[in-house]
C-alpha cells in the first residue's frame, strides 16, 4: 500500500512537472509548428483521420474547398502515387497577441513517386499561408491561402 502511494505521488509529481514545463516552455508557436508537422505527416502517409482532427469544421481555402472536399482531395491526390514526400522550408509562425489565432507561412515542395516508378519527381512547389484558431489547448486549421506569385 505504501509503495502504491509512493508511485501515485511520483506520478502526480511527474504530471505536475510536465504541465509546468508545457506552461513555461512550450509556446503557442511551437504548438502550431507541431500541428503543421502532424498535418504534413498525415498527408504523406494518407492518414485522413489524423488530418481531419487537425482541420476545423468551418475550414475554407483559396480553391473553394470545405473540410470534406479537402479530405477527399488529399485522398484522391495520395492515391495517384506510391509515395509522397513533403519538404517545408522558410516556415514563419506568427501568433496573435490574444493567443487565439495564428498564421504560418512556408514553402512546400512536394515530391512524389508515381505508381510503378523508381524515382520521385517534383509535383509542385508553392507558397502557402495557413490560418489557425485555438480550440482549448489545440490549434485547428481554419483556412489555407496560396498567395499569387509576384515577378515584378
Amino acid at each position: 500500500m505504501k509503495w502504491l502511494l509512493r508511485i501515485a505521488m511520483v506520478g502526480i509529481a511527474v504530471f505536475a512537472l510536465w504541465r509546468v514545463w508545457q506552461w513555461v516552455f512550450v509556446t503557442d508557436e511551437m504548438r502550431v509548428r507541431k500541428q503543421i508537422a502532424i498535418m504534413e505527416s498525415a498527408v504523406e502517409k494518407g492518414k485522413l483521420l489524423q488530418l481531419a482532427d487537425a482541420v476545423a469544421a468551418d475550414y475554407s481555402d483559396d480553391w473553394g474547398m470545405d473540410k470534406s472536399m479537402l479530405l477527399g482531395g488529399v485522398s484522391s491526390f495520395r492515391s495517384q502515387y506510391d509515395a509522397i514526400f513533403i519538404h517545408l522550408s522558410d516556415l514563419t509562425v506568427t501568433v496573435d497577441p490574444d493567443h487565439q489565432k495564428a498564421q504560418a507561412v512556408f514553402i512546400a515542395k512536394v515530391l512524389a513517386k508515381a505508381k510503378g516508378s523508381f524515382s520521385e519527381s517534383e509535383v509542385r512547389s508553392e507558397r502557402f499561408r495557413l490560418y489557425f484558431r485555438k480550440n482549448d489547448s489545440t490549434w485547428e486549421l481554419i483556412r489555407v491561402e496560396s498567395p499569387e506569385l509576384k515577378f515584378d
Binding site: D90, K109, S121, E122, S125, R127, L149, K150, F151, D152
Partner: protein, 159 residues
Amino acid sequence: MKRYAKRLLWLLAIGAAVFLVVKFIAVPRIVYGDSMSPTLKSWELCVMQRVRHYEPRRGDIVEFRTADEPPLYFVKRVIALPGETVAIEHGVFKINSVPLSEPYTTANPNWQMEPLLLHAGRVFVVGDNRDFDLEDYVKGPVATRLVKSRLAWHWRWKR
C-alpha cells in the same frame, strides 16, 4: 598542437573560399521538375553563375526568385528582351512579329498568347517543356533584378 592549429587554419581558409565562391561566383543547384525538359531534367546537377546586375541575353537559362517573402526560385529560359513584343501563335513564339527558332524544344500548337510589350527591366521567360497547358505553367515577364544566376554548366545523372 601546432600541426592541428595549422590544419584548422587550412580548413577555415578552404571553408571561407567555398563560401565566397558560392556567395559571389557560382552556386550548385539540383533541378526539380520537368519544366525545362529536355534541356534540363529532374535531378540534374547544375552550376549557376551568379549575376549581380543581369544583362539580358536571349536563350539564357536563368534562375530567378519571386518578389515576395519567402521567395520561390525557378529556372527558365529567356525568350524575349526588354522593349520587344512577344506573342505566341499556335505554339510558335514571335518576337516583334518574327517567328523565333527554338531547336531545343517542340512547339505545342495549343499555346496562344496575345502580343505583349516588355517594358524596360523585364524579360519574358518560359520553360523548354511545352507539353503542359499554358495556364498550368510559370511563364511571363520577370523583372531582371529578380534574376539571380545564369546556367553555366550542367551534368546529367541519369542517361
